[in-house]
């Protein structure tokens, strides 16, 4: 009986090893990029990364989080490259010594989306601050990311500019989902709430319902993406050579062309502006 049980456990152990044999042989030419949900969810990375991997032999593993979490990940040394969209936080990241140097990569813009019924009457208003003020005045529902992401930081800045105390309204007309852009759009559509989104995620989003863009075009809605190599002096295991190769490629003519040629539903989603 003891023999049988031992044999049974030996089988389990053997199966476990067989299941995981390939772990030891995993490719080691890879980097981890901490990025945002917008670059991943829009499909940009699945479009450009194979081109880079083909050329360099370096696999790129993207962990898509809000900008706040992505920066935290990079600070902890859990990523080799940071690719996000909130310039002040990125510059702080470099100043504090976590990153080497920040480069502009590309941009697009934020948009305000809302239901066709337009309860706050903001449709067509390109003055985003006025539109935000009006939503607050009318106490129309607004769905916020509430997750410390680049989009959330941008939105908080806009409320401040509009002179609205959004925190006091939290739980009333202001609803913080604490989730990614797509999940927040799902919630907004379901509640009939306005939401601030990056244009790429919105175009790629498949559950628009009766929602459309109600405000766009303000210079305040500019959305710049930047790329930074995590400082190998802070974290010696950072794959500086491979990470730098990726950054060089993204900033090169070939990389920039790849980004610019990425289209969804016939629309260009990201506009390149590397120096």
């Amino acid at each position: 009986m003891i023999m049988k049980i031992n044999r049974f456990f030996a089988y389990l152990l053997a199966t476990l090893l067989v299941l995981n044999t390939n772990i030891a042989f995993a490719a080691d030419r890879y980097i981890v990029v901490a990025s945002t949900t917008s670059t991943e969810n829009s499909g940009l990375f699945s479009y450009i990364l194979p081109i880079f991997t083909e050329k360099s032999g370096i696999e790129v593993r993207v962990v898509a989080k809000g900008t706040g979490k992505a920066i935290r990940m990079a600070q902890d040394g859990d990523a080799d490259v940071l690719f996000v969209h909130h310039k002040p936080s990125e510059e702080k990241f470099v100043t504090e010594g976590y990153g080497l140097q920040r480069f502009d990569v590309m941009y697009n813009d934020f948009i305000l989306v809302g239901p066709d019924s337009d309860p706050a009457g903001v449709a067509g208003n390109s003055d985003i601050t006025a539109a935000f003020k009006q939503i607050a005045d009318k106490e129309a529902l607004f769905a916020s990311r509430g997750d410390d992401s680049g989009t959330h930081k941008k939105e908080q800045g806009l409320w401040k500019k509009a002179g609205v105390d959004y925190e006091a309204a939290s739980g009333k007309w202001y609803r913080a989902t604490g989730q990614g852009m797509g999940a927040t759009l799902n919630a907004a559509v379901a509640m009939g709430a306005y939401a601030l989104s990056d244009r790429a995620t919105w175009i790629a989003f498949k559950n628009k319902g009766d929602f459309s863009i109600v405000s766009e075009g303000s210079p305040l809605l500019f959305n710049q993406y930047g790329v930074i190599l995590v400082n190998p002096e802070k974290h010696p295991h950072v794959k500086a050579e491979e990470g730098q190769a990726f950054i060089d490629w993204v900033l090169s003519k070939e990389g920039q062309d790849a980004i610019a040629s990425f289209k969804l539903e016939g629309e260009q989603l990201f506009f390149t502006n590397a120096q």
Binding site: L19, T37, V62, D76, G182, A204, K206
Partner: protein, 234 residues
């Protein structure tokens, strides 16, 4: 509902077109969850049987503690494993964060208490039957563990399957420690969460249907094998 019928035909399409991306995700899901179940079984079954036979002070407290661990929230387990495996954490030098190994570790922690706790209950019943006989033969309680596990093997299948169900169904832990990296740590549940967030509700639901079917198949197959073996041995 349009979404449901659309999802249903989409799931059939995906299965019968033998979609390569789907196969990759399904295989990784199985690899991670089966590995976690194997580890949890190796630890949980002997642990459960030992707890049933041994008498020691504070035994009730340990049992209550183990039972309450059955309800461990996956996100908490995920977060703890994340902090341990992060480069800034105590086990950071292993470089395991965002790998399938990290996902296996998290799921093992999640389901070992389930298998151990259920195994303890099954073993306690058996120990109640055998105790006098075995102790009169001068058998130490711990020496009875293999006997109990062997005699309880059919009933213990349920404990193992409960662990497997929990492992394949959870998304919180694998999402945090795996990072949902395309081709590396993307499994069924994280794909469903991702597609939902992209607004691809039909695709997400279709994947959900495939996951449920898969889980059902494994459960039915296990019970059939068990009954087959049981029939032969009687």
């Amino acid at each position: 509902m349009n979404d449901f019928s659309q999802a249903f035909s989409l799931s059939l399409d995906l299965i019968f077109s033998l979609d390569a991306r789907l196969a990759e995700i399904v295989l990784l899901s199985l690899r991670v969850s089966l590995s976690a179940v194997l580890i949890a079984t190796l630890i949980g079954l002997p642990l459960g049987a030992a707890l049933a036979t041994l008498r020691f002070p504070g035994r009730r407290t340990v049992n209550a503690f183990l039972s309450s661990l059955m309800g461990l929230p996956p996100v908490v387990v995920g977060l703890v494993v994340y902090l341990l495996l992060s480069r800034s954490g105590p086990m950071g030098s292993l470089g395991l964060l965002f790998t399938p190994t990290a996902m296996i570790i998290a799921q093992s922690l999640l389901i070992t208490p389930i298998i151990a706790s259920l195994a303890r209950q099954v073993s306690e019943d058996l120990w109640g039957e055998y105790r006098d006989q075995l102790t009169s033969l001068g058998c130490e309680p711990l020496r009875a563990v293999p006997t109990i596990l062997w005699d309880g093997r059919y009933r213990l299948t349920t404990a193992v399957l409960a662990g497997f169900g929990r492992a394949t169904a959870e998304v919180g832990a694998v999402m945090i420690v795996g990072g949902n990296i395309d081709h590396v740590t993307r499994v069924m549940t994280t794909t469903i969460a991702l597609e939902t967030s992209k607004g691809n509700l039909s695709l997400a639901l279709a994947l959900g249907m495939i996951l449920i079917t898969l889980s059902l198949t494994i459960n039915v197959a296990t019970f059939m094998i068990r009954d087959q073996v049981k029939g032969e041995s009687l």
